[in-house]
Amino acid sequence: MNHIGEEQLVLFYYGESAEGAAIESHLGECEACREEFRALQRVLNTVDSAPVPERGPEYGRQVWQRIEKRIGRPRRSFMQWWIWAPAMAVLVIGSFLAGRMSYRAQRGGAQSIAAVSNQQIRERILLVAVGDHLERSQMVLAELTNAPEGKGKLDISDERQMAADLLDDNRLYRQTATSTGEKGVANVLDDLENVLVEIAHSPSEVSNQQLDDLRQQIQERGLLFKVRVLGSQVREQENQPAPRKDKEGKKL
């Protein structure tokens, strides 16, 4: 066996190497690799010495006290479609992203009419959810872009809250776009996510300078335009009439 590469040693250290037995045996014979592995161990063991501030047994209670008021409002019901729609969107948004929302019934003839119909309804609801997501994002971006500058600070707490609410769904859509290979869409959603993070973590009241920074982030990426275009594409798909199908789900 040749000398072991650094990457293999790292994987071996973490017990994730597929060649663990061979590496172990090589380390028993090769002084150079053994020394390399010891050096790696020394560094990683040193990293363990980085201290973490202690939190006492009361800490959990303190955290609860801080969040209790914000949690007080009733949790949203599972049955509300706008809650489950984004999660389920992962199942079908890939189809939209690939531009294949034309009801691919030709794939197989075994689907029942009821199944096809349910699928159509679900896809349509989910398209509405994605469209709404982009529309709400667009609103937040537009509000900030068009906000008037004054002498004092500007209250952006609503935009901030909305951006925070949009983040999770955006991440879900971006990951789906990435996994379906839709780089263009993933890039727009990635840009959007970065800006939403900035907005969500901004103070509730911003100075003119802070507002300018946020605007610059939006403008540098041409984000408002990109989100608007993507949103229009989704709406277009959403408004297309569903093709009629025969009993086997084939297009007529």
Partner: protein, 189 residues
């Protein structure tokens, strides 16, 4: 498994059950958040936001993963956002100050000689500096692997990156840590 089915009760709207979960998991989430952000204030922010998000998303939790793994996923993603944002702000500030800075200060920081490495606190400071030099992705992946013992596959799933990208992030993180810390470790021996 959570004591007394607290997750199920919290999912059905029992806020006392959710309080139990907060009390049970806060310290672990704080440790993770601190290792990710390297900053106590940010870590507190992550803890708070993690539980708020967890509460809002309880319906999405499925018992396939343990509740703590699910919480870690939320905390990791939020920390990642936070680190990225901090880095962007720092980069911007650095660019602004660049012209004012003396050229000497732009040179890489030299490794302190053996005479300076007397105290473990100094080594710890170097470890923190080295961790701060990692990119957000590298640091998050490394912390989850090294401190939390998550497998590379689990980390990839948690962060929404593939296995290879996760492996690469961890490898890059270890490489950078070695570059920064080996001189310190070898002089401290």
């Amino acid at each position: 498994m959570e004591a007394g089915g607290a997750v199920e009760r919290a999912q059905s709207g029992d806020s006392d059950a959710f309080r139990l979960l907060v009390e049970q998991h806060s310290r672990a989430v704080f440790r993770l958040a601190f290792r990710m952000t390297g900053n106590e204030q940010d870590a507190e922010d992550v803890v708070q936001e993690t539980f708020l998000r967890a509460y809002r998303q309880l319906d999405k939790y499925e018992a396939r993963a343990s509740f703590s793994t699910w919480l870690y996923r939320i905390a990791s993603n939020y920390s990642l956002d936070l680190i990225r944002m901090r880095k962007r702000h720092e980069d911007k500030r650095e660019r602004g100050k660049a012209e004012e800075r003396d050229i000497l200060q732009t040179l890489p920081v030299n490794t302190p000689g053996p005479d300076r490495i007397f105290y473990s606190s100094e080594v710890q400071e170097r470890v923190n500096e080295a961790l701060n030099e990692l990119s957000a992705q590298e640091r998050t992946a490394f912390v989850l692997r090294h401190f939390e013992g998550m497998s590379i596959d689990q980390i990839g799933e948690t962060l929404g990156t593939g296995t290879n990208a996760t492996k690469h992030s961890i490898f890059r993180a270890v490489q950078k840590l070695r570059r920064s810390l080996e001189p310190v470790v070898s002089t401290a021996r």
